[in-house]
């Protein structure tokens, strides 16, 4: 009997190395003879480059090369969706932190000194900053030739101008969140000598998209650019766009030496995209009994200087814009625009975090207007299997939204906080001994699309090899799917064990020698790469059965002997379709995930400090391949949602990041996280391998509005912006004293 198959929770295969400190992350890579790369970045959000003088830097002892856009061997442009991002800035810089020049030197300090020695003259422009203004001002200064609009999408359902008994409206804003993965952007590029190619070891979410973009920028055929995954210190969307990839390869190819690049924390804040800040106008109409009649919304997403995933944010933001509710009439409209703010792109919950915060705020407002319990209002309007979304897509898989809400509602509530300051807002900083503290309870529910959407075929590939080693059958699984911490490697082993009945499953290093796996994004890998591993295993299994001459193969080693079976298969999810450009109708999504949170908070109403006392979650995961890992995803996702609710924001003023450090970009510590009860619900999706449903993103999304609603319940305040800062909670109209 094999153990550690589907539905069990075997331990991570990389756990031992990780707890010993021996797991090789991309920043740990080291080669004799390697150089250190460093990046000169623009200090201005918008400027023309008048001149670049690298001579002083080049003259420094220990400096091997200094490169500018003139040295980009191939096309100096890349991008995940639109080709709009230069590898190194040419004539203009469009955001503070845009890469302008590169250095390779013997020691990182030498590289830093050389970067400082590069002289760049800029003609500084007034930056374009206001996304709402930009969306409606075709005459505004253009960040890119061709205009500032990246994508506009409208969704019309039923009678968009419907009227209702009870109407609530609000304007909601969400600040710029950062993925804040702990492992900095880093990698090691090794020239392959005579071949003219390069081998890049790195941390990324998607090897093949990096390979394609890097090869194009290097002017090399893709087969000359090999990528191998190193240990990834978290990702959360922040490793979808290129960072060090082309730069490290350029430096390595130019110097003929291995080149390591590793950002420090400050550079990391400039070296990857962030979550789109948004301003959202919502109006909900309902009958007096509490049935939703219509939702009308306008959403403005600030994409910053380059498009990155802005088109997807607009797509998700509109198609998911009314939440997991039955809404007969809707007009949802979103704009994603260019500005000279920091570029924004993928982050866990892409395009759903923003509208969920808004519509869940609205649901509480509506419940108050109706005199209803907020959970009951949500349950009354919850979508279910057979519901039709605002894009006209029929939900043809379980959608137990009402059940999830009921489950969190039924969980026991915590006791009132005692007098221990560690349990109170402010904690050890001793700001209250109970004075001013009020408790509140709030709910948040979300819907998130799983996998890529709107007609994309984001397939995955797996190769599975079965052979006998030392008398035992051993399966080797090879994919290019990125293990970013979520536990995909464990899932791949589990699937192979269950499908093949083989205990020993080895994972081949993750690289570009195998076909594309797509990105570790959009909660899709267990579904899509899991599907590919299943398919490859089943093909191997069929060969094995052929060899055995029977369906049943009790002794694999005996049947296999010296034979090696190796099969490569892809998995393609069912087809989706683009949205109609006028009406936004269409079957855009593969699958939806759902989660519900209930938050309990204590608020110090005189100081505006918040302690989240409890944060409970119920989520439908279809089928939990690894139940413990599923719970871990929900815990971690909830923590990121908590961060956005009360502390996490990249503060941008005049296009400049004011807090690019862990001193002032605060993420939750263990003292900020409350106990969490997690209820994992399994309602299998008949269209998905094993019935799985993507897990990673929904809990990040629903946690934020649950906490915001709990703070509102405690304070009675509208609180239209997250993160909720202390000064939003207290009344400063008297000037502060």
């Amino acid at each position: 009997m094999t153990t550690g198959g589907i539905g069990e929770s075997p331990l991570r295969p990389d756990g031992g190395l990780k707890v010993r400190g021996q797991y090789a992350y991309s920043s740990d890579l080291w080669l004799e003879n390697m150089l250190w790369g460093a990046t000169l970045r623009s200090p201005h959000p918008s400027a023309r480059i008048l001149s670049v003088d690298t001579s002083a830097a080049l003259a420094m002892p220990g400096v091997h090369t200094v490169l500018t856009y003139k040295d980009v061997p191939g096309e100096n442009v890349y991008g995940l969706k639109l080709q709009d991002t230069p590898v190194l800035a040419e004539e203009v810089v469009r955001y503070q932190g845009e890469p302008v020049a590169l250095v390779a030197a013997e020691h990182p300090e030498t590289a830093r000194r050389a970067v400082k020695a590069i002289k760049v003259e800029y003609e500084v422009f007034e930056p374009v900053l206001d996304p709402e203004l930009v969306a409606h001002s075709p005459d505004a200064p253009q960040v890119h030739p061709g205009g500032n609009l990246v994508r506009h999408q409208r969704i019309l359902k039923g009678d968009p101008d419907a009227t209702a008994d009870v109407v609530v409206s609000g304007v909601y804003e969400i600040g710029m969140q950062d993925q804040a993965f702990l492992g900095p952007e880093s990698g090691l590029a090794v020239p392959d000598g005579d071949g003219g190619g390069v081998h890049l070891y790195l941390a990324t979410q998607w090897l093949h998209v990096d390979q394609r973009q890097t090869a194009k920028a290097l002017g090399l055929p893709v087969e000359k650019v090999k990528l191998t995954m190193s240990g990834v210190g978290g990702a959360f969307g922040g490793r979808e766009d290129l960072s060090i990839q082309v730069h490290a390869c350029m430096l390595a190819l130019r110097t003929g030496r291995p080149v390591k690049m590793s950002y420090n924390r400050q550079e990391s804040f400039f070296g990857h995209v962030h979550r789109h800040p948004a301003k959202m106008y919502y109006e909900h109409g309902a009958t007096a009994e509490g049935d939703l009649v219509y939702v009308r919304a306008r959403l403005y997403f600030d994409g910053g200087a380059y498009a990155s995933k802005t088109p997807v944010v607009v797509g998700n933001g509109t198609t998911l814009g009314v939440g997991p509710y039955n809404v007969p009439n809707a007009r949802i409209e979103a704009w994603g625009v260019y500005t000279n703010n920091p570029p924004c792109g993928a982050m866990r919950g892409l395009g759903a975090v923003q509208p969920t915060y808004a519509y869940e705020s609205q649901m509480d407002k509506l419940a108050a207007a109706l005199g209803m319990d907020p959970a009951d209002l949500r349950i009354r309007n919850a979508m279910s299997e057979g519901s039709t979304t605002v894009t006209g897509q029929v939900v043809d898989f379980p959608a137990p939204v009402a059940e999830l809400i009921q489950r969190v509602k039924d969980m026991p509530l915590p006791e009132p906080s005692g007098s221990d300051i560690l349990q109170l807002p402010g904690g050890a900083a001793n700001t209250t001994h109970g004075e001013g503290v009020v408790r509140g309870v709030g709910y948040g529910v979300t819907i998130k699309n799983i996998s890529y959407a709107e007609g994309l075929d984001d397939y995955s590939t797996a190769r599975v090899r079965l052979e006998v080693v030392d008398g035992e059958p051993v399966a080797t699984v090879h994919t290019a799917a990125a293990e970013v911490g979520q536990g995909l490697i464990t899932v791949q082993q589990q699937i192979a064990r269950t499908e093949l009945g083989v205990q020993q499953v080895v994972l081949h290093p993750c690289d570009t020698d195998i076909g594309d796996a797509g990105s570790s994004s959009a909660s899709r890998q267990t579904y899509i790469t899991g599907g590919a591993v299943r398919n490859a295993c089943r093909a191997v299994r069929a060969k094995l059965q052929e060899l055995a001459g029977s369906e049943d193969v009790p002794d694999i080693a005996a049947v296999l002997g010296d034979e090696v079976i190796e099969e490569t298969r892809e998995y393609h999810h069912r087809k989706t379709y683009p949205l109609d450009p006028e009406t936004g109708q269409g079957n855009a999504h593969v699958q939806y995930g759902f989660s519900a949170h209930r938050a309990v908070v204590d608020v110090d109403t005189e100081l505006g400090l918040v302690k989240v006392v409890q944060l409970d979650c119920a989520q439908d995961v279809g089928k939990a391949i690894n139940p413990d890992a599923v719970v871990g995803q929900i815990h971690g996702g909830s923590a990121q949602g908590l961060g956005l609710a009360v502390m996490e924001e990249i503060q941008v003023a005049e296009g400049r990041i004011r807090n690019p450090s862990f001193t002032d970009y605060l993420i939750p510590t263990i003292l900020d996280m409350p106990p969490m009860t997690v209820d994992v619900v399994e309602r299998p999706d008949p269209h998905a391998p094993y019935g799985v449903r993507g897990v990673g993103e929904p809990p990040t999304i629903s946690a934020t509005p649950a906490i915001a609603n709990a703070i509102r319940a405690a304070t009675g305040l509208e609180l239209p912006r997250v993160p909720i800062r202390p000064e939003y909670i207290i009344d400063l109209t008297d000037g502060g004293s």
Binding site: A428, T431, E435, V646, L666, L671, S737
Partner: protein
């Protein structure tokens, strides 16, 4: 960059006299950040870790003399009953790792208005011991801070210790941050009752270019507090005290908070900490 590694205070002072731009480094919690992020490239680092004398505390003339490099973690665990205000402030510094390295001497050297120990030092009438090859001088904390991240030190001087009078009455420290650990103060407040002098000391952090005392608030309490009486304080007195503390501050808007929030929070912390200390004072006075 040179690395100077003295083994005694005398040797350190000689090195500082000969290389005045050398930056003293003890716990490294400020200096190393500046080095790691290329904000500072001094000609030399002057390591204080090897000087045993700087890592001990003792009682001198009735005051606790805390060597400049005694880490916060030891103040928390070993001096909590003698110097409760400073110990409470020390407990809010950074993280366990930071408290294992960081020291009051470092806080004073950096002289950041956000340094957690300053309000407690001000409220308790601490005195800074400053040495050079020219001799030793004692500077009260209230005269020590002269500007944003500036103090009275001459280029050839080092902070060798801080002298803190043992508490004679209840003390409190309160700090607003937007996270429950590892957070720089949005603003902070310390209070120390000195019943034998029928006086109250205060200290404000992160709400002005320098840490400072709320003089008017102190004078108000000196005049109004019913010392020796078993009565509680009138709400109006608490509030007036809060207002005067807020008035003493001159905060700015920055990434951590707004000026008006800081004023408001100081008022709240001031009246709360006053009520806590006064309750404790009444309790202990009645027990006595």
């Amino acid at each position: 960059m040179d690395f100077l590694n003295p083994g005694s205070v005398t040797e350190a002072l000689e090195l500082k006299a000969s290389v005045p731009d050398a930056v003293p480094i003890a716990g490294g919690t400020d200096v190393m950040v500046e080095l790691n992020f290329d904000h500072r490239r001094p000609p030399a680092l002057l390591n204080l870790n090897r000087i045993a004398e700087l890592h001990t505390y003792s009682t001198v003339d009735g005051r606790v003399r805390i060597g400049a490099c005694v880490p916060y973690s030891r103040i928390v665990t070993e001096l909590g009953s003698v110097l409760p205000g400073l110990a409470m402030a020390s407990r809010t510094v950074g993280s366990p790792q930071i408290r294992n390295r960081g020291s009051v001497g470092g806080n004073l050297g950096a002289a950041s208005p956000a340094g957690d120990s300053h309000p407690a030092l001000l409220a308790t009438d601490a005195v800074v011991e400053i040495a050079s090859t020219r001799g030793v001088r004692m500077v009260p904390a209230k005269d020590f801070y002269v500007g944003v991240k500036r103090n009275v030190l001459e280029p050839d001087e080092l902070i060798t210790a801080v002298h803190v009078p043992p508490a004679t009455g209840p003390q409190q420290f309160s700090k607003v941050g937007t996270r429950n650990a590892m957070v720089i103060a949005v603003c902070a407040f310390a209070i120390a009752l000195h019943p034998e002098q029928q006086r109250v000391g205060t200290g404000i952090g992160s709400a002005a270019p320098t840490p400072l005392r709320a003089h008017e608030a102190e004078e108000f309490l000196a005049a109004e507090l019913p010392w020796g009486s078993p009565d509680g304080l009138l709400d109006s007195l608490n509030r007036r005290f809060g207002e005067l503390v807020a008035k003493a501050a001159s905060p700015i808007d920055d990434v951590r908070g707004t000026a008006s929030y800081r004023r408001h929070a100081l008022a709240v912390m001031a009246r709360r900490t006053l009520s806590w200390t006064w309750s404790e004072y009444r309790r202990t006075a009645q027990c006595a």
